[in-house]
């Protein structure tokens, strides 16, 4: 069933109707068949009875002729009658006896009828009848019909059997026909049904399709069907539905397109969808209206929000430059409001005596006020606004109050808005804006809001500026502090260095003072010449105590001879001139003292004397020596005169000596030595004989040049020692010069002065080489003679 449920209608109908029809046809066919079968069997029975009766008559006739029961002659006469069939090919008549054995049969003589059949026949009382039985012949089952009749004379049964199939053979031909008729009828039915159903099903399909589309939300086309039957009504309804839906969809589309005024009416009060749509339209209309309202509100809000954001940005930038900030603000504000003029005033309370508003920046501002940059609190509209802290909105403006000028002309603005810049009741300034159009409430609100923002920024900018200023100040102060610290440190360093220098100096001074005190006599003198702070040396020198000395006037010590001179000296000192000289003092014990003294005044910064230092040295001894020396000098002077005379004599002597020397110079080798042994003079003869250069030899020590000194230092030392002692020395030496042996004989004569000192040594030498050579020749000859003499001996 499940399967069939899913089949389409056409198939379902066919599936259900065709079997029923076929079964009905089959049943009627079968009935016909059975009826005809029965009729055939009945007619067969009748025929067989008829035939049997006829056969019985024949038998009767035959019996009649032959008499006496069954005999051969009966058989012979009857046999031909029994060899032929009557109506069917198998309805051979036969006779069988009580035992069932065929007496006469076309081909079964001697065989028996089936026992079951025999029993049944015997059971029958009527001795005739009609029986249907089943014979098994040759293994084949055969339904057979037998009609029998008892024949008295014979005591046997006459029977005729026939195969049922033979009987029914014609009938079976009818069966085929019948079946064909059923099939044909069924086919006709099928075709008829199909033909009738097809358009209906087609229509149903269309309807289904349409409904399906509808159900899927599509808008199907109308179904074309013009019959005024049930289907036609369905189709019409569906078409109406489609129409309706289309209309509503169109309407909904219109609504969708926001065409809320599209024409549409509900189908009736019961039209739920239509009413809903209309309600919806109504709601939408209302919503639209509300939306419109909200939108315009939103626009205003957006305008204000965007403006606030913009000014927020403007205020955030340049928030350290008040002028630039306010320029930006007023310029943008005027533009944003589509106004024409504007000015921004800042509240200035730096001077508590004159708190005022200051026009910080202006936009297209050309009224007279522009030049009045400051407005006192309460003065004019702006001043009032600042005092009252309330917005002023003027719609009628006095002609001379303000004018908006362009290149082409000027006009009085229609609307003037003055908004105080306040933050929590603290005033920061005011904004003045003039416009040709009237300011709307939201614009005023906006300006007021901006005013708060500006105030807050101004406040923070003021704070920032103040903070920056303080920061800068502190930075500057820090730098200054650092610079001052460095300066202080340098000052400290200078002081320290100065102190060190001073202590070094004072150490030096102490040392000097100590040295002075050690070596010199020292005291300070007051302006009247009285002594103070005498040192030990002076105390010792004067042979008194410190107490005695202090306060004593210096002039007391001066030797009477010099007292007058000292007064002059003192006045010179007092005029600032340092005295230096030897003073002649007399000490307490009347000893005469000579003091080499300096008296130096010390000056203060103004050049006045504040102290006088006396510094001196006891030069008594040297002074006395000096005096003695003076005496000696006088003596020396006399002696000098004597010496002069002597000198003249000496000069004479010198001349003689020179002459002598000159004479010697030609013949002798002359050398002059100073007491130290330096050769001071050597004559030409000497050079001639001994060679060398005069200039080189002169100035050399004799010890360096002398032949003996070189070869025999011991002898030379002895020789020189003697000379130094003033002893005249002779010597002789030989040397070989340019292959020639030269012998020199020298006489060294020390020149001794008055004080027994050797002042000069003069050497006079003779070249005795020739004599020596001859002497040698002589001694050689003597030696020769001597050897000859010895040989002779």
């Amino acid at each position: 069933m499940k399967y069939t449920r899913n089949l389409n209608l056409n198939k379902q109908i066919l599936l259900f109707t065709i079997p029923i029809v076929v079964i009905l046809y089959a049943a009627s066919g079968f009935s016909v068949f059975q009826l005809s079968k029965k009729r055939v069997l009945t007619s067969t029975q009748t025929e067989m009875e008829v035939y049997l009766n006829k056969m019985a008559e024949i038998v009767q006739l035959v019996e009649g002729q032959t008499g006496q029961g069954y005999s051969n002659s009966d058989y012979l006469i009857l046999k031909p009658f029994f060899n032929q069939t009557a109506y069917y090919k198998s309805d051979f008549p036969f006779i069988f006896d009580n035992s069932g054995q065929y007496i006469i049969h076309a081909f079964k003589e001697g065989q028996r009828i089936p026992s079951i059949l025999l029993q049944e026949i015997k059971r029958s009382r009527s001795k005739e009848g009609f029986i249907s039985y089943t014979d098994y012949k040759d293994g084949h089952k055969q339904d057979r019909l037998i009609s029998y009749k008892y024949i008295e004379p014979y005591g046997a049964y006459l029977g005729i059997s026939v195969n049922k199939s033979d009987v029914l053979e014609s009938l079976s031909q009818n069966k085929v026909v019948l079946i064909l008729v059923v099939i044909f009828a069924s086919l006709v039915f099928f075709l008829t049904i199909t033909l009738i159903l097809k358009p209906v099903i087609q229509l149903l399909k269309q309807i289904t399709q349409a409904v399906k589309q509808l159900s899927e939300g599509e808008n199907p086309d109308k179904i074309d069907f013009n019959q005024n039957n049930e289907l036609g009504q369905i189709v019409e309804s569906i078409n109406d539905l489609i129409d309706n839906i289309k209309q509503k969809a169109d309407f909904a589309n219109e609504i969708g397109k926001n065409n809320l005024d599209a024409e549409f009416s509900a189908l009736g009060e019961q039209d739920v969808l239509g009413t809903s749509l209309l309600n919806m339209r109504q709601s939408l209309k209302m919503a639209n209206e509300e939306d419109g309202k909200r939108k315009s509100e939103d626009e205003l809000r957006n305008w204000a929000t965007a403006g606030l954001a913009m000014f927020g940005d403007i205020l955030r930038q340049n928030n350290n430059n008040l002028a630039k900030l306010s320029d930006n603000v007023i310029q943008n504000l005027v533009n944003y409001l589509n106004a024409n003029q504007g000015g921004l005033f800042i509240y200035n309370d730096d001077d508590p005596e004159f708190k005022h508003l200051e026009l910080l920046s202006a936009f297209a501002f050309n009224r007279k006020k522009f030049f009045e940059k400051t407005i006192a609190l309460g003065e004019g509209l702006v001043g009032t606004c600042a005092v009252e802290k309330e917005t002023i909105h003027l719609k009628e403006i006095p002609t001379e109050y303000i004018r908006i000028t362009s290149g082409l002309g000027e006009a009085v603005p229609t609307s003037l808005l003055i908004v105080p810049l306040k933050l929590e009741e603290a005033i920061f300034g005011a904004i003045e804006i003039a416009s040709f159009h009237e300011f709307k409430d939201f614009e005023i609100d906006f300006v007021e809001k901006i005013g708060v923002s500006i105030s807050s920024t101004l406040s923070s900018v003021k704070n920032n500026i103040r903070t920056n200023m303080l920061l800068e100040q502190s930075q500057q102060q820090r730098e200054e502090m650092a610079a001052q610290e460095e300066e202080m440190r340098q000052n400290m360093e200078e002081m320290q260095a100065t102190q060190e220098e001073m202590s070094r100096k004072s150490l030096e001074m102490e040392g000097m003072t100590a040295a002075i005190n050690e070596a010199l006599i020292f005291c300070e003198l007051n302006e009247d010449g009285s002594i103070s702070n005498p040192n030990n040396n002076i105390i010792t020198l004067m042979g008194c105590t410190r107490g005695e000395l202090e306060g004593e006037n210096l002039s007391e010590f001066i030797h009477t001879d010099e007292k007058g001179m000292f007064r002059g000296t003192w006045s010179e000192v007092m005029s600032g001139i340092t005295y230096k000289g030897t003073m002649h003092w007399v000490d307490k014990n009347s000893n005469e003292l000579y003091i080499l003294a300096s008296i130096s005044p010390a000056f203060d910064e103004f050049g006045s004397i504040f102290k006088i230092y006396f510094l001196g040295q006891d030069v008594t001894e040297s002074k006395l020596l000096e005096i003695r020396a003076q005496k000696q000098a006088e003596e020396i002077e006399q002696t000098l005169l004597e010496i002069q005379v002597e000198q003249e004599l000496n000069l004479q002597r010198d001349d003689e000596m020179k002459a002598l020397l000159q004479a010697l110079d030609h013949t002798c080798l002359i050398t002059e030595l100073d007491p130290a042994g330096v050769i001071t003079y050597i004559n030409n003869k000497n050079i001639q004989v001994l060679g060398g250069i005069k200039e080189e030899i002169e100035g050399q020590l004799i010890a360096e040049v002398d032949f003996v000194a070189k070869n025999n230092p011991k002898e030379f030392k002895k020789f020189w020692d003697n000379l130094s002692k003033g002893k005249k020395q002779n010597r002789e030496f030989s040397l070989t010069l340019k292959g020639k042996e030269i012998t020199i004989s020298e006489v060294y004569t020390p020149i001794i002065n008055d004080h027994n000192q050797v002042t000069k040594i003069i050497n006079i030498g003779f070249d005795i080489s020739e004599i020596k050579r001859k002497e040698k020749e002589m001694s050689a000859l003597i030696a020769e003679l001597e050897t000859l003499r010895k040989k002779k001996q």
Partner: protein
């Protein structure tokens, strides 16, 4: 941190090798303190400092600037200026020119003080002012002649003491306005020397140790105040010799308040108050 003698020697030697500056004859104690200060300020140890000095001659130059001391003020030690006014400068009254050398002029206050005094004595036209210092930074400051006002408010007291008053005559009072010589801007905290003063002096970098006399001139007056305190005895004498050689006869040398010439050069000068006059 302690700067030892050896540290100091390393430093001085390194500096001498890298730059031409010779601090070997500076006062040990002072130089040690300055070196310590430099090390502390730069947060360096000696090795680091010396390494930097070797690598960077600019750094070395700056260290020298750091080490040297530059203290001065307008009319510092008014008595000295009284001395100059009353006893020293009058000596040159009849000179055709007066050559003045400020050796170690620092930031120039002394130079301008001298010029103001000269101007008040009608001698500025005759004066030729030479000012030198080791430190080019302070020379630049000198040329500008702009000083801090607040911190140096004492300048004006000194000005009053030297220029307006006369210690020798308390009744005398010369009401000379500050504006004659300075522009005082209390807001900017500056005291600015007038241009006619700042453009006159010749400022030159000069090292007393090495440079001798930079100018082809001899001087009537040499001021070298609070400089030789940083030198040792030997260098002091060298400097005295230099000054002596470059002073005209009867020329004056003016040292600091607590500086004196002791030793061999002492008797080549005659002392007039604080001033030394070449004999």
């Amino acid at each position: 941190m302690i700067v030892t003698d050896q540290d100091l020697q390393y430093f001085v030697t390194t500096l001498k090798n890298v730059t031409k500056y010779d601090f070997s004859e500076y006062s040990d104690k002072s130089l040690k303190r300055r070196l310590l200060k430099v090390l502390t300020d730069l947060n360096l140890d000696l090795i680091g400092l010396l390494t930097n000095i070797k690598q960077d001659s600019c750094f070395a130059e700056n260290i020298v600037k750091e080490i040297t001391v530059n203290t001065t003020e307008l009319f510092r030690d008014p008595p000295v200026w009284h001395l100059l006014r009353s006893r020293v400068l009058p000596r040159f009254k009849n000179n055709k020119t007066i050559n003045i050398w400020h050796a170690g002029c620092s930031t120039g206050q002394e130079v301008y003080s001298m010029m103001i005094l000269l101007n008040e004595m009608d001698m500025l036209d005759k004066a030729k002012i030479f000012a030198t210092d080791l430190n080019t930074d302070v020379l630049e400051a000198s040329k500008k002649g702009v000083y801090k006002y607040r911190f140096n408010i004492g300048y004006l007291d000194n000005f009053d003491k030297v220029i307006k008053q006369n210690p020798l005559n308390f009744e005398e009072y010369n009401d000379i306005p500050y504006e004659k010589y300075f522009d005082i801007d209390k807001l900017k905290d500056t005291i600015t020397i007038k241009k006619f003063l700042t453009e006159k002096p010749i400022f030159r970098k000069h090292d007393l140790v090495n440079d001798g006399n930079l100018f082809f001139a001899k001087f009537d007056l040499i001021l070298c105040r609070n400089v030789i305190i940083y030198f040792n005895y030997s260098l002091q004498n060298k400097v005295f010799e230099l000054f002596h050689a470059n002073l005209y006869p009867k020329g004056c040398l003016l040292l600091g308040m607590h500086e004196t010439i002791l030793g061999p050069w002492a008797n080549k000068f005659e002392k007039i108050g604080q001033a030394y006059v070449k004999k």
